[in-house]
Symmetry: C2
Subunit: 661 residues, 2 copies
């Protein structure tokens, strides 16, 4: 008896189980469009079509025994489906199925293979390949859900057309660039190791245990690389002529805004290559990317010789800014050129700052005419601009001076008395045409050719003003200082080779950068080459007692690519000379020969053995893609991102592992 009973159950299991494993290969709306293009307009109704996809909307009753639902394919495209009760009974959102049937044109529509929304799909057959067994999908489809839920059900999000498009664009764009680099420019893709050696900036590293056992005995660790920098320089010394790679990089700094613990970088390096060559390759990659895949379908702009915006045609039409220029004009080495707000240096009006900190001897302001109409608005403005969230790095706040009455205009300079003496405030009042209702935001900064604080307080304010959700502020900016509605690219070059060293433990004192007297650090990394014209000056510093002012004057062959105020990538011509590299370590970076060997011995060795001159670059791929696709965070362009605590909620990483003893 029992065996008979089981036999029946097995039998029913058989048909139920097997059904969901029998299906035809993937068909999508793209495939339907192709079919429609092939058959004649009058014949399409006789064509049986098979589609795989997911239920996008619960079936609704049209009339007796006629139901309508929507099916979504793997491109996120949606098709209207008509069927009877028997076919659509019990169908739920996100059920995965295969349907067969034919297309009918809706009334009053013209036949076009492109507009599938003008058709209805008349069901002849439906197979459920996987029935949803959870309330979550329908819950999510009707609710704007909180972040945590979204993270947990990322796979449901990814089924939409938005993310299908993002993933496909990411893939296609990489392929476009690979073909350009490999086939047109003869680059070789080389995969470099991910189990790397720990480097001195260990705080940002992820450490990997060498042993299998958690109860690690030997204290041996690999580190995941922050970039393949040292590997690619080694490849140059290995005879590779042009290297590239979409490289996985790791930074243990998840708490910083919109960072991911692991990210992708388009990394390249050219042996016997100059900065000029590298910039040409990078500029062309950027231009090609925009022209093929910019979601906003707008070309990329830069600033022409006449100072006006112009569509870039190739790399040579990308504006090159000097570091000193952008620091004084925009208070940042990655200025958002879409923002029209200007910084005014008050030096021309005889202003002298440096009252609190003598190095910070320049006084600069932002003038916002006719901004404030009430006390209330003044409070709101200050609340936003001086919000402590913007100053978590302990940097100093600027002074916001709102002129609500005539005295505020006449004696405007008194608001800034703590940081600057203004010789002739009235000249300023007249020259800038200051009036009641105007706002001046002011701060001190370092002198023009030596601005190392980055961004300066006002450089920061330029961006902060546009991040507010305060309606009066938004309206004011929209009317008076509207952000330019195009993507703008530029180079920043001529960085100082060294910067004053900021104290590692106390980075700020009274809001000012706390420089360790007389010490410097590499502005980018220690492998960056200086300008050839400055090489004699560098040699002088190496051989004599260091003159800090002269040392800081030396410019590097580093170049940054900036789009919309975001540093998309950077690169440089590197040092390939053993002696020069070693001297820079020893004399300026205070790394003695023993320590050099321990940390960078492999590079010094290859420099000693015929490493050619070389230059390279890296583009932050996730960031770059998010700008092209107009997405606010890099999370949007990564299939399975971690959250800002470094957790992958969907897969449950990291997880707890008990240590032995």
């Amino acid at each position: 008896m029992i065996s008979n009973h089981f036999a029946r159950r097995v039998q029913s299991t058989k048909s139920a189980l097997c059904a969901k494993f029998k299906f035809e290969p993937l068909n999508s709306t793209t495939y339907i469009k192709n079919i429609l293009k092939e058959v004649k307009a009058e014949n399409y109704e006789n064509k049986e079509i098979c589609v795989n996809g997911w239920i996008n909307q619960k079936p609704t009753k049209l009339k007796k025994d006629l139901f309508q639902t929507k099916i979504r394919d793997n491109n996120g495209s949606v098709l209207t489906v008509i069927g009877d009760k028997a076919q659509l009974k019990g169908i739920q959102v996100e059920d995965c199925l295969q349907i067969k049937g034919s297309l009918r044109l809706r009334s009053n529509k013209q036949f076009s293979a492109e507009n599938l929304e003008d058709f209805e799909f008349k069901l002849s057959n439906l197979i459920i390949l996987n029935k949803v067994d959870s309330p979550v999908p329908s819950y999510l489809s009707t609710l704007e859900s909180p972040d945590l839920i979204q993270e947990q059900y990322r796979f449901l999000q990814l089924r939409s057309s938005k993310y299908a498009n993002i993933l496909q664009t990411r893939s296609k764009l990489k392929n476009l660039i690979r073909n350009y680099l490999e086939n047109e420019l003869n680059f070789t893709e080389v995969e470099t190791p991910l189990l790397f050696k720990s480097t001195p900036e260990g705080a940002q590293e992820y450490l990997v245990q060498y042993e299998e056992n958690v109860a690690n005995k030997s204290n041996l660790y690999y580190a995941l690389p922050q970039s393949p920098q040292q590997f690619k320089q080694m490849l140059m010394g290995s005879g590779v002529s042009k290297y590239y790679q979409f490289a996985k990089c790791f930074r243990n700094e998840t708490l910083r805004k919109d960072r991911q613990p692991e990210f992708t970088q388009l990394d390249l390096e050219i042996a016997f290559g100059t900065g000029k060559e590298v910039m040409k390759v990078v500029g062309d990659v950027v231009n090609k990317s925009w022209r093929n895949y910019n979601g906003k379908a707008k070309p990329l702009y830069s600033i022409g010789l006449d100072g006006k915006l112009a569509v870039i045609e190739n790399e040579s039409s990308i504006k090159r800014f000097d570091y000193a220029d952008v620091m004084t004009r925009f208070g940042s080495d990655k200025p958002d050129l879409r923002i029209p707000i200007k910084l005014i240096n008050m030096k021309e009006f005889g202003a002298k700052a440096g009252l609190t900190n003598p190095i910070f001897s320049n006084f600069e302001i932002i003038h916002l005419p006719n901004m404030i109409k009430s006390e209330e608005e003044a409070v709101l403005l200050k609340k936003w601009v001086l919000n402590k969230e913007h100053y978590l790095d302990q940097s100093r706040k600027p002074i916001v001076h709102v002129m609500l009455k005539e005295d505020d205009v006449t004696f405007w300079n008194e608001a800034f008395a703590k940081i600057a003496n203004i010789e002739s405030p009235k000249l300023v009042t007249k020259s800038l045409n200051l009036k009641v209702g105007d706002v001046i935001i002011g701060s001190d900064r370092e002198s023009d050719s030596f601005v190392f604080e980055n961004p300066t307080p006002l450089g920061k304010i330029r961006n902060i003003l546009y991040q507010s959700e305060e309606p009066f502020l938004n309206n004011y900016l929209k009317e008076n200082f509207p952000k330019i509605d195009t993507d703008i690219v530029s180079w920043v070059v001529n960085f100082p080779l060294f910067s004053p060293k900021v104290n590692a433990t106390n980075k700020r004192v009274l809001g000012y950068p706390n420089y360790d007297t007389g010490l410097v650090e590499s502005t980018h990394h220690p492998f960056t080459m200086c300008h050839l014209a400055h090489l004699p000056l560098l040699a002088k510093q190496i051989e004599n007692e260091v003159n800090l002012r002269e040392l800081l004057f030396i410019k590097s062959q580093h170049y940054d690519l900036i789009i919309n105020g975001i540093e998309v990538g950077g690169g440089s011509t590197r040092i390939h000379d053993y002696k020069l590299q070693s001297q820079i370590f020893a004399k300026f970076l205070k790394i003695d020969v023993e320590k050099q060997k321990e940390l960078f011995g492999h590079l010094l060795t290859v420099f000693k053995m015929g490493c050619p001159p070389h230059s390279g670059f890296a583009i932050g791929w996730d960031r770059f893609l998010s700008i092209i696709l107009n997405e606010k965070t890099i999370k949007e362009v990564i299939a399975f991102p971690k959250n800002n605590r470094g957790f992958d909620v969907l897969f449950g990483a990291p997880s707890k592992i008990e240590k032995g003893d």
Copy 2:
């Protein structure tokens, strides 16, 4: 005075330093060939040519004030260079330089732009871009150096034409395959995370500390993935239709032969895809790779319908073997089909094994006629075949019976008395035509349809015989059983879904696999789907008490790709049904619901929410490339491999990091 002194030194530094930073962009022999093709044969001598490269050979004196040297470019190509003493004085091996000059045809040679070795390069100008400051390069160039030195100076190795070709082929082949998958087949490349969750097979994982500090407090760890298996299945549930990726994978098992802690795998998965579809894609990828990049310039063979070797034209001409078939015929699920040695099952002669272990009831032999001419050879043969190095896994040795005299022939069966009774040994003697000088190697194994020991002792011996360096053995095999000199590919399919579970701590008893009575494990991984025809049988096992014999009979939809006896890749149709997956975990793999949720909750969740049926595959990319390029180890096709202790000697990873407390 001092400043004058310094000024002079600075001056000299200036010219010396600057010279090596001034150069023209990369030019190689390819570029020279192109120039030669452009200019007319009579004009080439007037053409100034610029080449960057390395000194390949110390200058030698030809006659008074005329020296000859060789320069090697970034493709590893070598050019003969002629110059005077002033130009070539002090030039050393591996000096990196730029030369200018023109080409002269050597006497008695015909002009051809392709044969650069027929030309001499007449120096007009030479710039040393990096002078070698180490004795190592010239030391290495004159010496076959030991492994450690080679590892330490990998970059010098990579400058040779051999490695330039390997790196370039790796890059080009990947690009070929990417274009095929993306442009012809509409695959989407998706990057999946490398900071993954630790999984139960933790012993093979690399653990990554979540915290920055080595003195880890929270016990939170990521694990580096052994493959993107779970990510790609999640992508199928995320609406991606065809996924692929050259994925970085990690296995903490460096002590195994020719393994690397990190390696690359061509990973792919197709939603609504069947095994047939996947196999077609993989077969075509393999065929295309061989046709474009096989270093030996020979096509790939498989076994045709007539049982004979035939060049494969497409995937459908790749032979499909049943698992049971290869295990009984070749004693391995990755048989090297180039080896003509056959295993003879003695069942037909009435042999009965199972004397030591009743499960191992079959007796099989290898017959090597006319092999041994002396006692000495007998000893050498046994020494090699029975060498304990081959049995480090504690597996049992076969019995080697050398027939040196008539009695050894007549009573041959006595040599195997411990493992098998042979009903009519004389029938065997006659049938196999046994003679003095013949060798029989014999062992017992499991019965034909249930061979799980893999390889069997004789399956192992087939390969071991060819790995010896013993001249008499080599000669014998070369004359009597020569290995076929072509690359041979095949599929192995119809694997059992489950295998008897081998005891985790004592894997072998008396050389036999030590199965845990009544327990099974997934033959591949727990996500593998069974044959649809066997689904009712599986359902029966789920619902009733398990019948081990029936359970082990169930075949999976797994498929392995084998080339030259090496498993190049494997794949399967996966389970996409929540209930079936959960039941398999619970009933057969003894993972209760709580534990399932902890380990695989993310996959079970997506299975519950409309995950489509899907099938996929992974090719071990390094291994695949090493076969195509005819390299013996995967180290050869990796730019910076680790050694077999997992150390990167060049970069010095891993390194010691002291733990805080």
